[in-house]
Structures are given as structure tokens and as C-alpha cells.
């Protein structure tokens, strides 16, 4: 989310420390991971605001896009499957909110309600994020498939 390795590490540690010091606020009738994720998302947004990347690259809101960051390029190099790598690169270009929603929904198997709680938005917003993300990614995949078909013939 913060698109910076050092920042990601800092935010991750902050999230665990904050969760520990605010454990008394956790409602144990609800699943733990979405609560932890909501802390991490807020801290990530605060980190972006503090480090002045709002104007240049990505705002603290969930609607901006930018090129893949250094962290994502590192991970990209680890993905050996070509198609998966392209998908990862496509996901990396999504706006922050859509990208976060995609990861939390498809990779972490959170429900729309839990994601909405974590991001502090409504379930309708999450569905919109996922809709836009799927449309964007589908378009890129279709374009890739068409290009591949054309180059192979």
C-alpha cells in the first residue's frame, strides 16, 4: 500500500505494536485479522501523508494510481510464471483502494464486510473497487492475450 520497502516494514511493525497496546479495544466476537488489517491500512495512509507522497505519487485517499514501486519490482522478479508476473504488474498499477481490496478479497479471503471495515468505507464502495479492478485487469489480460496471439501467428 505504501509502495516503499522501508515504509512497509515500518508500518507493519507499527501495526503489530498498535494492536498489542490497543488489545483491550478488540472485540473478540469478531475475527482478528480484519481488525489488524484496519489498523495497518490506517497506519499506511498516515505514512503516505507524512512522507509527502500525496502530491507527487499517491494521495492518502484510495483513488490514485501510479507505477509499480521498488517493492513490487522486487517481488515481480521473484514470480517466475510469466502470466502471474504480468497479472501482478497489472495489479500494482491499480489505485490504492482497488489494489488493497483485490489483495484482501482474492488473496486473503476476507469478506466484503471485513474489507469495508478495514478500509473504513461501505460495502458498496468495496464492491465498486472490485468491479473496477476486475474490469481493468480483464482488459489488460485480454489485450495481452490478443498481442500474444498476433505475435505468435
Amino acid at each position: 500500500m505504501v509502495r516503499h520497502p522501508g515504509g512497509a516494514e515500518e508500518v507493519t511493525q507499527d501495526a503489530f505494536v498498535r494492536a498489542y497496546t490497543h488489545l483491550h479495544q478488540y472485540d473478540d466476537h469478531r475475527p482478528f485479522y480484519p481488525w489488524l488489517a484496519s489498523i495497518a491500512v490506517r497506519l499506511g495512509q498516515n505514512w503516505l501523508r507524512r512522507h509527502g507522497q500525496t502530491a507527487r505519487r499517491e494521495s492518502a485517499s484510495l483513488d490514485s494510481t501510479c507505477e509499480p514501486s521498488e517493492a513490487e519490482n522486487v517481488l515481480t522478479s521473484l514470480i517466475t510464471d510469466e502470466r502471474s508476473r504480468r497479472l501482478w504488474q497489472a495489479v500494482a498499477t491499480l489505485p490504492s483502494g482497488e489494489r488493497t481490496a483485490v489483495f484482501l478479497y482474492y488473496r486473503d479471503d476476507l469478506t466484503v464486510t471485513d474489507i469495508a471495515r478495514a478500509l473504513g468505507v461501505t460495502t458498496g464502495t468495496i464492491k465498486t473497487f472490485l468491479f473496477r479492478a476486475r474490469r481493468h485487469l480483464r482488459g489488460r489480460l485480454e489485450a495481452e492475450t490478443t498481442r500474444h496471439r498476433e505475435t505468435s501467428t
Binding site: T21, L78, S84, W88, V102, F103, Y106, L137, R138
Partner: protein, 185 residues
């Protein structure tokens, strides 16, 4: 059923359940046959599977140690507890809560001894109290008889229970050198 509508349903992914099944079936029928929508349906199906298979980043090896170190800085005075040495659930200070029961039992025994002991002639021992000019005979006990024995035993049990209660309270409130500590692993 337009392509635009069908593509919208395709991109909605799992969130099309609000539509009637017949409507969705018609949409998918169109998508399977349409030259525009068919590739989109295939791409969307593949996309769902590939998104679920996106890899996650492994945490840094020193994440746990770094977090624990920061927690120690934030709350250095927090007494840490060893789960293995925590008092068991249902107990007060790590052992069965017999002190309260022994206090009650001891008191009951002593009381019964007083109630059922009968004053017997010269062997009895009694003591009277002078209260506001009135002589009040208190309990008449037989120190060498069963009643006296029960009375003494009851008092002893009662006293033991009281001492255990008081001693346990003191231990609970004061720091101990043997206080268990959690060691970060």
C-alpha cells in the same frame, strides 16, 4: 440483452447474486455466443483463479523480534506472565481455594460444639460476663470431653483458614522474586 450489460455482469464477478437466476442464465448464454463477450467471459474466469493464486510476501525473519523490542520500549514496566506458571482457572493463588471452606467449616464445628455441649456439674467450665450490670453466662464447655475437643479442632481449622486467607492476600499484593516472566522466543 446488450453487450454492455453482459460485460457489466461479467466484471461484477461474484456480486451478481442480486439478479434473478433466469436473467443471469440469459446473460451467460449471450456471453458464450457473442464474439465480443465470449473472450471477456473466458478472461474473467481465468482472472478469478489467477487472482486467488497471487503470491504473498513472506515477513522479514526478524519481524517478531523487532516488534517485541518495540513493545518492550513502549511498556517496559508491564509484568510479563509465563503461561505455564499462571494460576489455574478456578483457583485463587495457584492452588485449590480451600482456605475459605476451612474457615467456614471450622466456625461451624466450633459453634456446634458450643451449642451441643451441656454444662455438667463440677467438670464444667464456664465463664460469665458482666455487661452493664447483668451477668451473662456465656458458653459452658467441657474441656476434656468430646465437645471440648470438637470446639478446639473447629477453632484450629477456622484459624488456619483465616491465616491462609490473610497470607494469600499478602503474597498477591507484594512483588515476589519468583514472579514468573515471559521470555520472548
Amino acid at each position: 440483452m446488450t453487450c454492455q450489460h453482459v460485460l457489466g455482469l461479467i466484471d461484477a464477478g461474484p456480486f451478481v447474486s442480486d439478479y434473478p437466476p433466469a436473467h443471469l442464465e440469459a446473460a451467460w448464454q449471450h456471453a458464450r455466443q457473442c464474439i465480443t463477450c465470449s473472450p471477456a467471459l473466458r478472461a474473467s474466469t481465468a482472472l478469478t483463479a489467477e487472482l486467488a493464486a497471487l503470491p504473498g510476501l513472506a515477513p522479514p525473519a526478524d519481524l517478531a523480534a523487532a516488534v517485541l523490542k518495540r513493545i518492550a520500549l513502549v511498556e517496559p514496566a508491564t509484568p510479563v506472565l509465563d503461561a505455564a506458571r499462571m494460576p489455574q482457572a478456578g483457583t485463587r493463588f495457584g492452588g485449590p481455594d480451600w482456605s475459605a471452606w476451612s474457615t467456614v467449616l471450622g466456625g461451624v464445628l466450633a459453634g456446634l460444639a458450643i451449642v451441643f455441649s451441656a454444662p455438667l456439674g463440677s467438670a464444667s467450665v464456664g465463664f460469665g460476663l458482666r455487661l452493664r450490670g447483668m451477668a451473662v453466662d456465656s458458653a459452658m464447655m467441657l474441656p476434656t470431653t468430646t465437645g471440648g475437643l470438637v470446639f478446639v479442632v473447629g477453632l484450629a481449622i477456622y484459624a488456619a483458614g483465616l491465616l491462609a486467607l490473610v497470607g494469600g492476600e499478602a503474597d498477591h499484593d507484594s512483588p515476589s522474586h519468583d514472579e514468573p516472566r515471559l521470555v520472548a522466543k
